[in-house]
Symmetry: C2
Amino acid sequence: MKIKGTSPTMKDVAREAGVALGTVSKVMNNIPVGEEYRLKVEAAAKKLGYRVNSYAKGLKTNHTGIVALIIPSVRHPFFGILTDHLCRVLMKRGYRTLLATTESDMEMENKCIRLVQQHKVEGIIALTYNPDIEIDEDIPFVSIDRFYTNRVPCVASDNFGGGQLAAAKLSELGAEKLLFLRIGSSVIGEPDKREAGFKAWCQNHKIPHHVIHLNDEDGFKPFYDFLENHIIEGKPEYDGIFCSTDQLAVNILRVLEQLGLKVPEDVQIIGFDGLLNYIDYKPYCSSIVQPVEKIAETAVEILFNEDRSKLPALTCLPVSYRPGGTTGDRDMEKKKNGEV
Amino acid sequence: MKIKGTSPTMKDVAREAGVALGTVSKVMNNIPVGEEYRLKVEAAAKKLGYRVNSYAKGLKTNHTGIVALIIPSVRHPFFGILTDHLCRVLMKRGYRTLLATTESDMEMENKCIRLVQQHKVEGIIALTYNPDIEIDEDIPFVSIDRFYTNRVPCVASDNFGGGQLAAAKLSELGAEKLLFLRIGSSVIGEPDKREAGFKAWCQNHKIPHHVIHLNDEDGFKPFYDFLENHIIEGKPEYDGIFCSTDQLAVNILRVLEQLGLKVPEDVQIIGFDGLLNYIDYKPYCSSIVQPVEKIAETAVEILFNEDRSKLPALTCLPVSYRPGGTTGDRDMEKKKNGEV
DNA sequence: TTGTAAGCGTTATCAC
DNA sequence: GTGATAACGCTTACAA
């Protein structure tokens, strides 16, 4: 498939306007030029439907106006929202977004990076889980949620702080023994620190706590068994649960139901992400909210930072707590959501 | 911000390999060349970390390998999933996706179209609600969900058929008086036909029915009032509701709760879209399912169709019905979802 | 088969 | 201020 080569060029415009090629170029780039010339050129350009060929321009200037975004998918709401913000922020700065979805496949991730580099993008923002990613040193690169090396700036939520905050909140709301839960294959990125923050807070405050790593095969069984074995007089021994994601939290909610336990009366739960249900824009559960928009803005800002020699290796953005019905602070929640 | 001009060119590779420039070009494009030359060139290219500059290439060939996607956002799950599929299908065909989000702002839509055309994309796939969109005749264009003219091929779900299917299902499941509900500003795209299909089926089958158009200001009040005035002996007169989207359906569910009505015992509800909750991959409600993946595949196929003179102006893809707990067919639903 | 050279549409450097 | 002209990196006849 070829684009019909009929689009007018600067030469055409110059001929039409009866001026020199260079003059047209100047008009197009807002470089001062005699008023009468400018008008002639503008008229000719409009008449011919002229548009600058950004490939020719890019060839000359090495300025393409495109930034690549490499991300597992845009299906998952977190990625979708992040992509949305990034695309908007980039557009505002005069950049277009070249989107590449990888499904977290490492081979795909490297392939995409290679491809977009061919397209002479002016920067790459990537959310990958690839430990040995092939980065070209002389193209600006910002990683999200994944710290590689000091040479590649990384932007992430304050996952450690979020873990601490979750533990603190659960404790503040009356939970006495805390549980941390995560599921899935070993997380190698920043999100790992959620657990670390949680543990640290519990240890510092001498709060009894326990950690369970679920895996995809066994599912929630280990959790179910653990909780069942720790029920005293119909009440669960562990009455505050911090889940590494909202998704896990909501699934845990179902398990607790099966165990005949009430949330938040018997057990309080806090998740992580803070996404809202797209139907009614209500939280899925009480959660540590990631500042998605701020992440997007910061990533772009760092990408375009003038002085790339002195960039922060890791930028952690503050998270916040939002009640969402799975903790004891229901009034606060209703007030915040402005419910009837 | 400029890309460091250090990347090696074909000239560098040619010098390194001790061959002529043209030979390098041939190797890069898999044009037969003496084996020893090929090896020399490949070695030199690898050594220098050479990558073809697709801007120079594009300037020559007018083949950029980029397709633009213009879409309101990727935040909404329907758009996110659609974008995901499109990006994947395009990648499989060797194309990259230039993403532009418009928030359905008409000015933005036209601006984006202008911008991506500058980038010499080889095709545009757009989901817009802009009645007077500025399309360049000589760049392939496919519209999703919005029919413009016979010159612009449009891909959409069979919205009319979906409307019929919803009415038929509700009737089949025992509903005797049907209601159609939609909300928001006048829909100008294909989705309009959901209502038309619904009405047509009801008329053909002599089923009593009613239509309510809600608007954003009054919210669900008119619906609430209508239903309240049509309750006979504690049971709603209208016992089958077709909502133009799942989102509306779920919100209506809440309203019915307030009215003390049971779903699906007192009222059955069918929505439209068929999205799954990202948390547990379960349907939000019984729904007419849009074939999102098929839409993506078809759009790309049409975009790259060899003979663009004989393209279908409108391609309607078949929808299907899926129970989701808001209709009387619960057994079927459980079986389908493979629940415990 | 390999090498050479013209030119794709722009920008930028100069004389004018 | 304006207008030739030489790159930019690559493809592609065409000549060797």
